[in-house]
Assembly symmetry: C2
Homo-oligomer: 241 residues x 2
DNA sequence: GCCGATTTGTCCGTATGTATC
DNA sequence: CGATACATACGGACAAATCGG
């Protein structure tokens, strides 16, 4: 539960936008009015509004105001945005997740793996292949590489449940930054064997590097998604810089 | 040319990171030191650093410092990030762009188009199909829908060059927000006809809504990319909110 | 384990600039 | 032109996390 003022204001404004208390295309109250409403400083208001801009909810216009550009009808049901685990994402969409561990090994980073993952040569890693189901349909194959001296004592049983829960609740690893690259690739034999791709001969592939709170990259994952169930959302704002 | 202090500091720090004046995994100077270096307030430093965090260049750690997590070796040559036109992107990568206009018409938004694009029913639109080449290879088919009363007097000739240049230099339309959704779709007859897809039977599809500085959505575009040349980069940071 | 120094995070108030109406 | 709105910048205060002695 956030107790920061700007987070509370952000949540409240977000709710008012989502429930259409502020109508689409309407201007939000001015900063000075919001200062009175929430009894805080201007900086705090501006910070909350900045977060809404980043979400694509509003747009600021110097000299005019802050416009609501949130369109509820265009919201998607299966969003992969921000950093979210497969299980979190499934539960949020009321779907039943299941995970099957196809492979669980320990490896040492050689130059080829280093080049692919970004781990230094010689790093000790866990390497896993996992198959993710949603409502009994196989949708994603994950190839996970975890740094052993950060992700300590990983087991097959943990990998069958949620590795991210293990991170947060047991190891207390906070995930801070994730760098992702999305591409489309031809299916491999493994993809074809485990995913029911039908006519499709390619997949959506998300490669990601994940950093913990010490700024150490401790995970490299390649997620190979069934193309029919893949959707990636993004809001871009032109930087003034 | 930005004259804002925070933008100058951002640019300078970014350069120092890219040229490895600050080494990978090294801590940047503390905020108090940066204040002395750049002769400014703490807020200004914090703003510049925040932009670097958003870029995935650094990671802040309370009580410890700001760590450089930029890995130059992993930089990609063909990046589609932020809001960038096909031509801008091509030039940045030293490739020769060419655009062919396959179709140039004017339409009125019916319920079906409204549902697909997000324009209100009855809106007057330009509808274009354009084929984009890079170094003589057909890579992207764009389906553009532009609001006629914003994108005034569009012609086929303009569409063959750069529509974004026409926006900025002639119409003075500033692009502020862009909402994008990335999916993978099976190829259509049009895709097959114009793109040399080889064995691939699907494409990367980016659907985007673009807003001007008045908060008006004036463009809906579906970009259909040759899968071999598509790459989408993203940095996510866990929100404290 | 404690304490003090350092570092980032949150919050406030104020002043000035710039764009819009 | 004045009033209003957001944008930039400064300075100060305290909190929270980290680290070394």
């Amino acid at each position: 539960m956030p107790k920061e003022k700007y987070a509370e204001i952000y949540k409240d404004l977000k709710r008012k936008i989502e429930t259409e208390e502020y109508a689409f295309q309407e201007l939000l109250p001015s900063e000075n009015n919001l200062i009175l409403t929430y009894d805080c400083s201007r900086n705090t208001i501006r910070r909350a509004v900045s977060a809404l801009v980043a979400d694509g909810y509003v747009q600021t216009m110097q000299g005019k105001g802050v416009r609501n550009i949130f369109q509820p009808t265009l919201r998607t049901s299966f969003t992969i945005g921000g950093i979210e685990s497969f299980k979190e994402s499934a539960i949020r969409n009321n779907q039943i997740p299941k995970t099957e561990v196809l492979c669980f090994t320990e490896i040492t980073t050689d130059p080829k793996i280093s080049n692919k993952t970004g781990f230094p040569v010689g790093s000790e890693l866990y390497y896993l292949q996992r198959l993710h189901y949603l409502d009994d349909k196989a949708l994603i194959i994950n190839h996970n590489y975890f740094l052993k001296n950060v992700v300590t004592n990983l087991t097959k049983e943990i990998a069958e449940n949620s590795i991210y829960e293990y991170f947060e609740n047991i190891l207390h690893i906070a995930i801070v930054t994730s760098k992702r690259i999305m591409t489309v690739e031809k299916m491999t034999e493994i993809d074809e064997k485990y995913l029911d791709l039908g006519d499709y001969n390619c997949l959506a592939v998300v490669s990601s590097q994940t950093y913990n709170s010490d700024g150490i990259m401790f995970e490299y994952t390649q997620s190979r998604h069934h193309p029919e169930y893949f959707r990636f959302q993004d809001n871009a704002t032109r930087r003034t810089i």
